[in-house]
Subunit: 551 residues, 2 copies
């Protein structure tokens, strides 16, 4: 520190601020105070109003003891309260834990307990499942009830009204807002891993800030985008888009239920310019538009991830007026961290070639240091020949801090100096990656990750089941659906519909198999089920067999 380029040239208040998304809303509230921040049904609030509400939320949380080790859990659809959580909680210094609203009560309870929730913010329409989760959970968080007239629900015992909480304290002053360190945790997002218990992915302020800006850079967002919330904000904090929309002084068009009808209506009524979602959302909206003979007044940019939309869907969607950008990521990398960066030359190619190029997951986001495909043993990059498979690995500032209270999983994920995604891919000669097989044990249905191992665990509970393998079967509506291949115990019987009902009693519905096939399972010499064979079966299931399997 004695060299001429260091001496007297250290960090100080004037030249160093911890990177945080809190800065983004603060600036927009000052520069564009009257610009609409949120639209939701009849509610419309400006950026200055939204900022004041977030600052009030922060002050109330702080006065009730929230600090950097506090978890604020939230079970909310894409309402204005969810947008406010994305800022108010980080301002207070606490950690935001948006919980998947499609989980069952046991799943929610596990998360409340594992995250040690001190606050639990619940939408009225989700009060029932929240109450059940609270009855199962050991923690006793402060319960905050967000009353939405669009979805009235039962009152929650001992709950505080959200608006009452906001009125409890004067808005927090700018200078009091967290973080003290940009490495401080900002969010906790549970992911279904390949084991039954979800893992809690911890984000920091630095990564959230950088990915928020990166979304704007990669997508070349204009100022004042009108952003429709079809992607749930509980997925990787809405891929960091609450923060991106604030940075660009856009408007959050909130949507409680992203049905095809609602999406099309919102696009028309709110002059939507951008939206994100799983391919199923694109597919649904496209089909609805076609059925109603609607073409969009002006193009809507769609960022989609999960699986690549097939050529036919791309073509149809573009005909309606959607312009598709394909991104890729995981909860562990703040949502999208890779993008199929489009090259102007490709515009000239025939539609099928364009679709094949767009189906690739592509290259690292600008703020991600490195996206690579490597041999999982040696960590050597695979040959970029489009054929050799390896594991997708991420390295850089938009990779999580690690898994909460799970040292072994964190160390395993980071072993070798990269985040190991578990996804298998090839590297093409032009440096673009393409997924070839997702982590073997994950099924993506309607944009949600389902752990096949978790589902198998439930099926094994059925007294008639001897062995079971759950894999992804293609599904026109959901992209994929869990399919169970089951060997029954000698002398036992069960039907497909019986097993499906059995699962629905014990699992969130989206996790339950929609297909159950009874068949002897292929095994290795050591008795291990050969899942690749089962996957092949699932890929081919059709016609009468499919009908039978649906129960």
């Amino acid at each position: 520190m004695n060299g001429k380029y260091e001496a007297g040239l250290g960090k100080r208040r004037a030249n160093y601020t911890p990177l945080s998304p809190v800065s983004l809303i603060r600036r927009t509230a000052r520069v564009h105070p009257d610009h609409a921040a949120v639209h939701y049904g009849g509610v419309s609030r400006s950026w200055s109003e939204t900022y004041a509400r977030c600052a009030s939320l922060a002050a109330a949380l702080r006065s009730r003891g929230a600090g950097s080790e506090s978890t604020v859990a939230a079970l909310l659809p894409n309402t204005p309260a969810a947008v406010e959580m994305a800022f108010g909680v980080p301002m207070s210094g606490a950690v935001l834990n948006m919980i998947n609203t499609r989980l069952d009560a046991a799943g929610v309870a596990f998360i409340l307990d594992h995250g040690e929730a001190e606050f639990f913010v619940v939408d009225s329409g989700l009060a029932e499942i929240a109450a059940e989760a609270l009855s199962l959970a050991a923690v006793q968080p402060v319960i905050v009830y967000v009353h939405d007239p669009a979805a009235p629900g039962e009152e929650l015992e001992g709950a505080l009204e959200y608006e009452t909480l906001l009125a409890e304290a004067d808005p927090m002053r700018d200078a009091d807002m967290a973080p003290g360190d940009e490495w401080d945790a900002i969010a906790l997002n549970y992911t279904s891993g390949t084991t039954g218990n979800p893992k809690g992915v911890v984000y920091h302020h630095r990564g959230a800030y950088l990915n928020a800006l990166a979304n704007a850079v990669e997508w070349t967002l204009p100022h004042h985008p009108r952003y429709l919330w079809t992607l749930p904000m509980f997925h990787c904090n809405g891929w960091c888009f609450p923060w991106t929309v604030a940075a660009m002084a856009g408007t959050n068009i909130c949507l409680r239920a992203p049905t095809a009808e609602n999406i099309l209506a919102a696009i028309g009524a709110s002059a939507v310019t951008h939206l994100c979602g799983a391919p199923i959302v694109l597919n649904m909206a496209t089909t609805e538009a076609e059925n109603r003979g609607i073409a969009l007044d002006s193009p809507v940019e769609v960022m989609t991830a999960g699986a690549a939309p097939p050529a036919a869907v791309l073509k149809r969607a573009e005909a309606v007026g959607f312009r598709i950008t394909h991104v890729y990521g995981l909860t562990e990398v703040y949502g999208p961290a890779a993008i199929c960066a489009w090259k102007p030359d490709w515009d000239e190619l025939p539609a099928t070639e364009r679709a094949a190029l767009k189906a690739r997951q592509g290259v690292n986001y600008t703020v991600l240091e490195e996206l690579s495909v490597r041999d999982p043993e040696t960590l050597e990059p695979v040959e970029p020949d489009g054929e050799r498979m390896g594991e997708v690995m991420f390295r850089g500032n938009v990779v999580m801090k690690g898994y909460l209270k799970n040292g072994p999983a964190t160390e395993e994920a980071f072993a070798g100096g990269h985040f190991r995604s578990g996804d298998l891919a090839v590297m093409h000669p032009d440096g673009y990656i393409q997924l070839k097989d997702r982590s073997k044990d994950i099924i993506i249905t309607g944009g949600e990750n389902v752990s096949s191992i978790e589902v198998e665990g439930v099926i094994y509970l059925h007294p008639a089941v001897s062995e079971a393998a759950v894999v992804a079967a293609p599904d026109e509506r959901w992209g994929e659906t869990p399919a169970a291949f089951v060997e029954l115990k000698e002398g036992c019987t069960a039907t497909a519909s019986e097993l499906i009902a059995f699962c629905r009693e014990r699992l969130a519905h989206f996790k339950c198999p929609r297909l159950v096939v009874f068949r002897d399972l292929p095994k290795t010499s050591t008795g291990k089920i050969q899942k690749f064979v089962v996957r092949q079966w699932a890929a081919e299931i059709d016609g009468e067999e499919r009908r039978l399997a649906s129960g």
Copy 2:
């Protein structure tokens, strides 16, 4: 560090990389290897070629001993070598010191010595002044000679050819590239302060990275912009645009001499989409287009700073096809750090109102934490009434580390927790700032800062001069020009042209007064010259008086 959100969740290779512009070119070289990075005359090089050349430069510098305390000085016009400096030097870990090519030899020598230059990269067209500077300087840097056929010059004694240097070593491997810490110095830029000796502003990798991305976000840059280099790269590292253009995989259209003719020719020949420059550049290009009856084929975005273009110029420029964005900054804040963020509503206003709004310096860049106007004594923000004056202050991650080897100036600039610009402004009720008086002692002529105190110092050397005050006079061509008001010693005589010639022998030409007026100077009771009165005189100088003063 024992809380659940810290334990086992520290920084590691997988999730932390020091922010640096080096990452930006590395990614673009991989993702868009064949896209043109630079065009210059007959030379065109792709991003992969440019990256390889930068990595070779870095390796050669490193093998010759460059490290984090090494200064690489460069006297270069906007050629491809200047673009390569912006990456090759930081990759090596050394600090890039781009020197103003309009300085005189003594000015260059001062900088070489003060920065302790270990390398000095010189364009052939600037060899003469470099040789003179070297003869005056105490340091004995390694001299690197960039031969440009467009401007052949004398050989420099003992100089190494740039291409020979590049060939000396294999390109540096990615893993060996600096920085180790994002706070490491990346660049050194000398600014004329209010005292005679320039101050060396030190930038860090973190700020350079953030402002590079911010330029893209603020200007909503598309991918692959075609960026014309009219702004000298020695001004705040070209406002960080070498790094921005790399981030967006654009093309640097280099231009040795940004004359009106060359600018218009380049726009036509190279399909330029974006350029930056002082208002004089805009004015020149507009006038040239008008004279030749040219309208641009497609609009060119122009980012301009320094002084607001008057309404008439704005209108004429827009008629030709230029779209103007007004930014504001100083060397100490990486170039532009404020922007007159445009509001869609304003498009509807009459032209003069629009020009008045656009003339304001505006609001903080997204990556700048705070832009404020404060009482310089109490540091209290002034009333946002558009009338009360205060000092413009900056705070955040795009504020310099400080001044090199100048503790007192650094402490003074940062006193109170903000960078104090010395510029005077008002804050409008809508939160936009407007400069009312620049730092009293700086004159901006043709986009260059001139210290009035430095010029006065030279005038005082003249034996006939008793007292002198140098202030800005309005100038149609240069925006402002230095005007000297001089009181002669009793019984002495001198003419305007004599004094101008006297200055030209001792100062870079752009710093010399173009007007000299002989007159008794107004003084306070304690004998201090009342500069505000002199400024008023200069504002009003006209007609016959102006002709006389021109010598």
